[in-house]
């Protein structure tokens, strides 16, 4: 270490003063901290200082440094963005940030249901409000993201049915499919059901052919990755007729207008909560939920934590705790169902704040407004020469495919030109979905005004 005269005292490290170091060393009768490392063989000791840049010791310089790097980014606040595809720009109500920035929640972790009562109640309430939205009695404490939730729901269905075969719609996010495949493959045989290129939904014919009595689960997203709202009832009924569990991924923000999947036969419902009051954060705002009815055998398949309400010694007082804790891997090591750990609890609390602010009317208004803006955008875009809306006859929530084949330009080129006008064009699908040619996924939410949509259309007319 450096010589005592010039030694830095670190604001985050109270005992970095010489006085403290000396006092503690003498208290434990140690000459130096080297005594504590005596068990580490010499040849495993690092013989040089870490090789890293000079630090910014003052808070001011540090802030300058990081902010300067961040300033190289251009945010969706500075530009007009039409990106969706699994992460969505919405208005984040101030109360959401106000709550999730509180030290009480932000810096807590895994206290008991007594000292951390607030966390338990806030997460119970989040689950309860999700339960109302989904019309299901069981909702878990958030997992990492919607991908994880979907993968887990498929494993749950296989454990529950004792079967290995899972049919997964290709209309889900390609990354989600990648994650599911790797996550499940040791115990599940995944078979992908292709996209119906006409509707942009799942190909019903392929589903019929693939279903048999060995099928544990049929998984699809509704709306799908391409924004299409499927006839979920038809798919679920077909799955159920083979005793397969219908499992549906859903955007909770759509549920002020769209039927909850439970109403059309889904037994496992999963999804992504980022849209519920959480900033996008370059994909860091994601969090996943899993929900089902209160079927005991299915409940026992949840790997994640379920918080339940429990009475206390004081009549009428609400306490909380883990329901059927024996399921989780914290408790049972390798006998637990999958694993459980730190995931995205703060986003669960935030989503709860969001739902309580929005209420029934707010959730209806926002979903309705998004449907209307999408319908308007579809009409406006379809009227631009060279632009096609391939699944125009479908109902779209938040996003839809826009095809540019007739413009003679690639999506990449078009997006570059739009960027010059401070517009983030729709996500380029041409690589992952070659069957759609030069297509992009355009997303419209409640933050897009008519002006914004018109601005996009004008810009597109200009650049193509």
């Amino acid at each position: 270490m450096s010589n005592p005269e010039t030694k830095t005292v670190y604001p985050y490290i109270p005992n970095s003063t010489d006085q403290a170091r000396k006092k503690m060393l003498s208290a434990v009768s140690a000459e130096s901290v080297e005594c504590f490392y005596a068990d580490i063989p010499k040849y495993l000791r690092m013989q040089r200082p870490l090789d890293m840049p000079e630090p910014f010791l003052s808070e001011y310089e540090l802030k300058q440094h990081v902010q300067k790097l961040l300033n190289k980014n251009r945010s969706t606040e500075e530009c007009l963005s039409f990106l969706g595809g699994g992460c969505y720009q919405h208005h984040v109500p101030s109360i959401c940030d106000e709550i999730n920035q509180r030290s009480e929640f932000l810096t807590a972790y895994a206290g008991e249901p007594y000292d951390d009562h607030g966390r338990f109640q806030a997460l119970f309430e989040y689950c309860s409000m999700m339960g109302e939205l989904l019309e299901m009695d069981i909702v878990n404490v958030p997992v990492y993201d919607g991908h994880q939730a979907a993968a887990t729901s498929i494993r749950m269905a296989c454990r529950y049915t004792g079967k290995r075969k899972a049919l997964v719609s290709a209309t889900i996010h390609p990354d989600k499919l990648s994650m599911i495949t790797e996550y499940c493959r040791s115990d599940v045989d995944i078979q992908v059901i292709n996209v119906d290129t006409v509707t942009g939904g799942m190909c019903m014919e392929s589903l019929k052919n693939a279903l048999d009595d060995q099928t544990a689960v049929v998984y699809f997203d509704n709306p799908g990755y391409l924004g299409v709202v499927e006839d979920g009832e038809k798919i679920c009924a077909l799955a159920a007729s083979f005793d397969a569990i219908p499992a549906v991924g859903v955007d909770p923000l759509s549920l002020g207008v769209l039927a909850p999947p439970s109403s059309y036969g889904a037994r496992l419902v999963t999804g992504e909560i980022q849209a519920l009051g959480i900033h996008m954060q370059f994909g860091g705002g994601n969090g996943g939920f899993i929900a089902s009815h209160d079927e005991t055998d299915l409940v026992m398949q949840y790997p994640s934590r379920l918080f339940g309400i429990a009475p206390t010694e004081v009549q009428g007082e609400y306490g909380f705790g883990d329901v059927a804790f024996e399921r989780t891997s914290f408790d049972k090591r390798e006998n637990g169902n999958e694993f459980v750990g730190t995931a995205s609890a703060l986003w669960g609390i935030t989503a709860g704040v969001y739902l309580s602010l929005m209420g029934p009317q707010g959730m209806h208004d926002i979903a309705n407004g998004i449907f209307q803006r999408n319908a308007y955008a579809k009409e406006r875009l379809a009227s631009i020469p060279g632009i096609l809306i391939p699944h125009n006859n479908q109902s779209h929530f938040k996003e839809f495919v826009v095809n540019f084949d007739n413009t003679g330009k690639t999506v990449e080129e078009i997006n570059r030109l739009l960027l010059k006008q401070d517009i983030f064009g729709g996500h380029d699908l041409s690589e992952k979905y070659p069957q759609f040619g030069q297509s992009a996924l355009y997303c419209f939410t409640e933050i897009h005004s008519r002006d914004d949509i018109d601005t996009l259309c004008d810009a597109l007319s200009e650049v193509i």
């Binding site: 895994a110 249901p113 705790g321 804790f325 914290f330 408790d331 049972k332 090591r333 390798e334 006998n335």
Partner: protein
Amino acid sequence: MNESSDGPLIGLIVNPIAGLGGKVGLKGSDGEHTQQRALALGGKGCGVERATLTLRQFSRHSRAFSIVTCQGDMGEHAVAKAGLVAQAVLPIGAAEGFSASDTVAAARWMFAMGVKLILFAGGDGTARNIMDAVGSDVLVLGIPAGVKVQSAVFAINPVSAAEIVRRFVSNDITGCTAAEVMDLDEEELRQQRVSARLYGYLNIPDDRSLTQSAKSRSKQSDRGAVCAIADEVKRTMNDETLYIIGPGMTTSALKERLEISGSLIGVDIVKGGKLICRDASEQDILATMDKYPGPSQLMVTCIGGQGFLLGRGNPQISSEVLTRIGCGRITVLATTNKLTSLRGRPLLVDTGSPWLDKLFNGYIPVITGFRERLVYRVASSLA
């Protein structure tokens, strides 16, 4: 604790001569002859004293539970010494001549009265008597007072027994777990031979089902783990091998999984999914092996709090049987909880043959669950 208490009814049985033989080096107090010898040697039972220690943890004003007990040293005295009042005193255990049948009678009576828990102060013999009387129909908890407290039904000491009772009556403990009752033949023990077998199981309150704790709520029963072990073992079984399956709860779950009507505390022999011989003696095992000369495999669990794999609890599996099966052909089944309860002490073997014991020294993979093994140390108990 007085007549107007409205808590659950708890039965208290004290074996006044428990521990009698221990202090005078008699390795136990079973049998009238021994008891007389012990008394002659100046021995003194410690049942009353130990039970009093437990009861002293409760205030006389507590209304948490009511006590029903026996007369005199079989309970009444301990209750009084602790400053408590029994709700009822059964006419058992009059002044002198305590015998095992008193324990049996008291336990039956208490069961008929609907007690929620029988608390007893005694040793393995007392546990055995209570098991004979009530089996697994009522929860039981032992205050260790005997010379031999090999059975798993005892609290660590009288104070912790009180804590378990307290949590049981306040509904902090709601689960129960089956605990082994060991049958150690004292007569043989006195002859320098150990021949213990598993006598059966009593249900005890599951002490660790504690209050909620967020990250580490207490473990539940081992039931799930035992089933997972059975599944795992069944997967590895084939039709060619003769399986000799030892006694115990863990192996019993396997027997259930195989859908054979095996015995809980005996050795069963299975081949091709069928039960060939139930509750086999050493001779039965050897004879069956003669009859089926193909490969054989032994499946055992560790029995008793001491972690005995062989030599206690399963004397049928003798050194001759072991030699015939072959040392490498042993599958060990045990839950992780059972292994951790050994606190790092090795699994023990005492086959009666020192050179055979030596072969076991080392490490053995123990099947602890589905797709799960724990590598654990084995040592000769004589080492």
